[in-house]
């Protein structure tokens, strides 16, 4: 108990101190995870919607695959991306290994299935309600899918937040492709891992609390936004 109380006050003083290193680590974490979420949403929402309203051979198999990949182990994704981006790998010439871009790529791959699978479910449920009317009006295929996505945007927000949660929480992928380089690819989760391995558990826990607080704040803001918008648009 004492450890936790210590770390809570440690977290508070960390935030209050405005420590520059901490600030840059937090900023990088946000940049990497938010970029990954943006990319994964851009690609995953239409993908999920297309699968939801489409009818094609292998659709069921694809749905099962997508659902299963929600549980992709981050460290495995990291390893695969590492092998791809390594100089000895196929994309080595891009020189992306050990950069924040590599981290974004790995996290995007990791959370794309989450956003796609959850939006597929939401769109499919909504499609039951909307299908006849949309088809009657002449909206089909991608057009219908995009109309649906926009109409159920508040429900889809949950899928996006799930992706954000996964991205900001994981360490396995970013540590392998990023290399946890001080000042370059060190983010909150990798710092926590590092401090833990150095035995500085109170600091690690304090950083963990800062991270959780950050994610809480983002979720609260998203919820508030959603409530406001729902009141305006029904």
């Amino acid at each position: 108990m004492g450890d936790i109380a210590n770390s809570l006050s440690g977290a508070a003083s960390l935030i209050a101190s405005g420590d520059a290193t901490l600030a840059s680590i937090v900023l990088l974490s946000l940049k990497v995870s938010l970029s990954a979420v943006a990319l994964a949403t851009l690609l995953g929402l239409p993908l999920g919607a297309a699968i939801a309203v489409g009818r094609f051979p292998g659709r069921q198999g694809l749905i099962v695959l997508l659902n299963a990949f929600m549980g992709l182990p981050p460290v495995v994704v990291g390893l695969v991306v590492y092998l791809m981006l390594s100089r000895a790998g196929p994309l080595g010439d891009l020189g992306l290994l050990f950069t924040p871009t590599a981290m974004v790529i790995a996290q995007t791959i990791l959370i794309l299935p989450i956003i796609a699978a959850l939006s597929r479910q939401a769109v499919e449920d909504a499609w039951v309600e909307y299908e006849e009317q949309l088809r009657s009006l002449g909206a089909t295929g991608m057009r219908a899918a995009l109309t649906l996505i926009w109409d159920i945007r508040f429900s889809l927000l949950t899928a996006v937040l799930a992706g954000l949660g996964r991205a900001s929480a994981e360490v396995g992928a970013v540590i392998i492709v990023g290399g946890n380089i001080d000042g370059v690819t060190r983010v909150m989760t990798t710092t926590i891992a590092l401090e833990t391995s150095k035995g500085d558990l109170p600091l690690a826990l304090s950083l963990g609390i800062v991270l959780i607080t950050l994610v809480l704040a983002i979720n609260a803001a998203a919820y508030g936004l959603k409530e406001m918008a729902q009141r305006r648009y029904g």
């Binding site: 006849e132 009317q133 009657s136 009006l137 002449g138 159920i152 305006r232 648009y233 029904g234």
Partner: protein, 239 residues
Amino acid sequence: MTMRAPTSILPLAVRDLSFVAGGRTIIEHMSFELAAGPRTVILGANGAGKSVLMRLMHGLLRPTAGEIAWSAEHAGRKQAMVFQRPVLLRRSALANVLYALELADSPRPGEQARKALADVGLSHLADRPARVLSGGEQQRLAIARAWALRPQVLFLDEPTASLDPTARHAIETAIDAIHAEGTKIVLITHNLGQARRLGDEVLFLHQGRLVERAPVDRFFTQPASAEASAFIKGELPWV
């Protein structure tokens, strides 16, 4: 008269239509023709196949056998359908009508949308979110949206079943106005009074078959088939 497309998709010829789903035969060897002009009401007990027939005609379902033959191409764009419960987008009332017009590549969507709302008396709610409107207002909006495209045929599947008498009256007024402008009305209803008010002819379905077809007055006063008699008595036991 504001008929848009010069080529009429009517008459519609339904030939030997069958529809099987989940192992059950829902429509069985149905044949008839729908001509422009008379308002057609489809009647029948629950499970007779009325909604399925309407969806087959409108193209939402594909026949298992037989054909739905319109008299011109692109019949899909010249029809519209109103459902029992209107499905509106999370946008303003005006935006909902705009959406339909934009889908149809209308030349002046903004102008047409406002006119459509005015036609059903919803101009004052143009910027209100469609989903917060009352049931009756939503259904009027759905009709405005369908009517904005000036379809040649308007299908309505129990459009007032969920509405109170005042709202029902408003909808019936709108349907009358639409018919007056030349659109063919095809209506499913359980409300026999509404059938008499709005219909010119009746298609009576029983267990997936077209059992009787008659002008509306004769259908109710002198039903030719036993099933129709039983139906009317069942719905109006005092007759």
